[in-house]
């Protein structure tokens, strides 16, 4: 009889802090193989179609960048929130409101054209996301509501509001009754980076720039220090003179603005108009990206590419093997599950406890601890 026991480490393990995402990824692959086998597909074939083929040509890399851009943009914003111990789960809603605000110009003022249109749209997108994120921030600071619940519930409000807009007041009169707005004019479309090679647009550049800026903010600036102090020891933060309420607003507004920018970039770049559904759940997947990237903006860029691949792979297995593209959701869920599980190893180590230890005398000196310590 053996049982597993978690033993708290004296301090967090730097090794497992770095290894944890990789262990999680490996476990996801194993669990994924079992899932494919149960579906009656050879796991190797499935993995080839899922993870390798979607990125074997240049134009496919562009598709990857299109999917990764919103994930990275949203996740770097969320990383600031989570570091500050502010739990914004509603990036999906902020994404949608960014898209709606940014679309005001091309939908309501289609005759307004020129080089100013796009910057104004992007700006409005950020404002829209930030305004929508301000609601849970206000509720939390004023009424001490749980921001996880309020921000999450506001996602559904945003989805339904968008649905109503495109079916009602903003519907394209020449659209044969389809629930969608007019196609954006040329000056309202986010240009492609390398039109000859693929569809990737400037959204990916925004994502990379945002990641670098947030990295500088968090590691080099006083504001980032404030975020980290308030998130890790709020009492010490209050002693430092940092305001907890101000921080809640800062984190929500910043992450909301970035999610809003992702929203308007997606609509003006990849889609070209507003539709009832504009996101395959980027705002939720970005939560996984943030944690898989260790809440580090540079790690998030890598994690964003991995999660973008799960979307492409999901589409690929659907067309090639006839498996539902919900497989993508399953992979994302498993990844988050294993990442959070593996994070336990940062603070605890596992030890096997045999019956010998529960006997009163003798064998007890053969403690497995020293061996494990050496193994580290």
């Amino acid at each position: 009889m053996m049982r597993l026991e978690l033993v708290k480490r004296p301090q967090r393990s730097a090794l497992f802090s770095a290894l944890s995402p990789f262990i999680a990824f490996a476990l996801t692959i194993i669990a994924g193989a079992i899932m494919f086998a149960l579906l009656g597909v050879n796991p190797l074939t499935a993995f080839n179609i899922y993870f390798i083929e979607p990125i074997s040509q240049v134009w496919q890399l562009h598709e990857l960048a299109i999917k990764a851009a919103p994930l990275i943009l949203i996740a770097v914003g969320l990383s600031v929130c989570y570091k500050a111990n502010v739990w914004n789960i509603g990036a999906e809603g902020q994404f949608i409101f960014g898209a709606i605000f940014g679309s005001i110009i091309p939908v309501l003022f289609p005759q307004f054209e020129g080089p100013l249109v796009l910057p104004l749209m992007l700006l409005l997108g950020m404002v829209g996301g930030a305004v929508y994120a301000a609601i849970p921030a206000f509720l939390k600071t004023r009424f001490n509501t749980n921001e996880i619940l309020t921000s999450l519930m506001l996602v559904y409000v945003a989805q339904l509001f968008l649905d109503w807009l495109v079916r009602g007041p903003w519907r394209d009169p020449q659209g044969h009754g389809f629930p969608q707005t007019i196609q954006f004019g040329d000056s309202a479309v986010l240009p492609e980076l390398l039109p000859d090679a693929g569809r990737a647009n400037w959204g990916f550049v925004f994502a990379l720039v945002a990641a670098v800026l947030i990295w500088i903010l968090m590691s080099r600036m006083l504001k980032g220090f404030e975020v980290r102090v308030l998130g890790s020891s709020p009492r010490a933060g209050r002693f430092a003179g940092f305001g907890l309420k101000r921080m809640v607003f800062f984190a929500f507004l910043l992450s909301g603005a970035l999610a809003g920018l992702a929203g308007i970039s997606e609509v003006s770049g990849a889609i070209g108009q507003l539709q009832p559904v504009i996101s395959p759940g980027y705002g939720f997947t970005a939560i996984i990206v943030a944690f898989l990237g260790r809440l580090n903006p540079l790690g998030i860029v890598a994690a964003g590419l991995v999660l973008a691949l799960t979307y492409l792979g999901g589409e690929a297995v659907q067309s090639a093997l006839g498996i539902s593209d919900k497989v993508a959701r399953v992979f994302q869920g498993m990844l988050l599950f294993f990442v959070l599980g593996c994070d336990t190893l940062i603070h605890y180590r596992i030890r096997l406890v045999g019956l010998a230890l529960t006997k009163p005398e003798g064998a007890a000196k053969l403690d497995p601890e020293p061996k494990l310590k050496e193994a580290r």
Binding site: L222, K223, F225, R228, S233, F239, G241
Partner: protein, 521 residues
Amino acid sequence: MSANQDGTNLLEVRGLTKIFGTLTACDHIDLDIARGEIHALLGENGAGKSTLVKMLFGSLEPNSGEIFWNGQAVRISSPGVAKKLGIGMVFQHFSLFEALTAAENIALSLDDGSPISSIAAKARALSFSYGLPLDPESLVGDLSVGERQRIEIIRCLLQTPQLIILDEPTSVLTPQEADKLFETLDRLRSEGKSILYISHRLEEVKRICDRATVLRHGKVVGHCNPRAETASSLARMMVGNEVQAVVRAPVEGIATAQPLLEIRNLSRKPATPFSIPLKSIDLNVRAGEVIGIAGVAGNGQGEFFESVSGEVLQQDAGSVRIRGKNAGNLSITGRRLLGAAFVPEERLGHGAAPRMKLSENLLLSRHATDGKAFVGGGGMVDSAAIYAAAQRIIEAMDVRKSAPDPEAAALSGGNLQKFIVGRELDRRPSVMVVNQPTWGVDAGAAAHIRQALIELSRSGSAVLVISQDLDELFEISDAIAVMHNGALSEPMPIAEATFEKVGLLMGGAEPGHAEHTMETA
């Protein structure tokens, strides 16, 4: 009672060793405890006392060595085993639920399913027979620290232990409460029970203990009869060399000096059901003096500190004045910018962020006051500047550490405290407010911190020290005020103050009725 199995000691420890990584916390400890003796375990912080006691109580497993109980080799693998053998422990930090009654708290630890009413009756009988008055029906949240300790002691006695381990029991008591405790310990000894008494207060060890074992750096440096030793010879054994005495030069003309910190009619409603309201506190701290605030823990010191530091703001801007300016509605940053500095009681998580480097912790309290030096244009932190400043403080305060710029949590309590005090002294603040400056700090470091506070005051600053350690306050203060139940007494000039007078005020006596209370107490 099994006190007659003579010839063997109740407890014998041979070569007990505990290793954490590279640190040998206990190195071949030998210890004998006879039946019916009070045995002192002396040592500085970090000497290995807690580790040893945890092994005896079964919360830590030794790497090697043997424990004999009544002459039999035993393995104490858990606190449950220790309790079954007959070892009971009263911890320094109580583990009681404030919202439950005393009897309910006791019932929780007994887990034998007996009804609360019978436990309450037993606890009442026990408390009566040992002279530890306690109402089992009272809510813990309403009890004083001394009364809470009684619950812990009674909880321990209900398990009829033969050996009782007491960890720093008097650190939270008034002198009068401590006297009561000593009477109880005498009773227990006369019944043949043994007591392992952990303390660093040498006078009380001399007074009540039959034998003492002194630990230093994890090793036993000697067994002795404390009654045959002097306080300074015991201190020498503990520390390894003479602790430098703190020098306090008398100051002249304090009465006419300018008050740098003025507190006028400061009141505060309780923030939670278990916190203490502050009752119109008045106090002046003048340039050049150290004022001490004595009091049993939990009498409003924490609430007072938060109000003075600006972590909690006041309605009336004039209720706290710093260097002649109203500061009651200023944040802690605003008060710092007026020249004040603060050191809170809790080091990890309040005075310092545990997972941050020392240099980052320097920024914690000084990002605004030293903004020009530490934070460059655009809000970029000048990491070279904060690193250099942190090293300067580390050197000035002799902070011992394992890495050039370690995380705060990696330092021992005393060394972290030296850094936190040094961080504020380095600014040369004109007002310094410190809560428990040397709590849990070893003697050498404590002397260093106390001397630094006195020197700061003599250079023209106003220093306010809140402390539970009366020895400390008598050592450094020019006047002592006492906080009881949220009210503050008039400061007593040090020349007129005695332990007796301060102790009575700590127990809640009215200043004018001191004589009378003493008779009835």
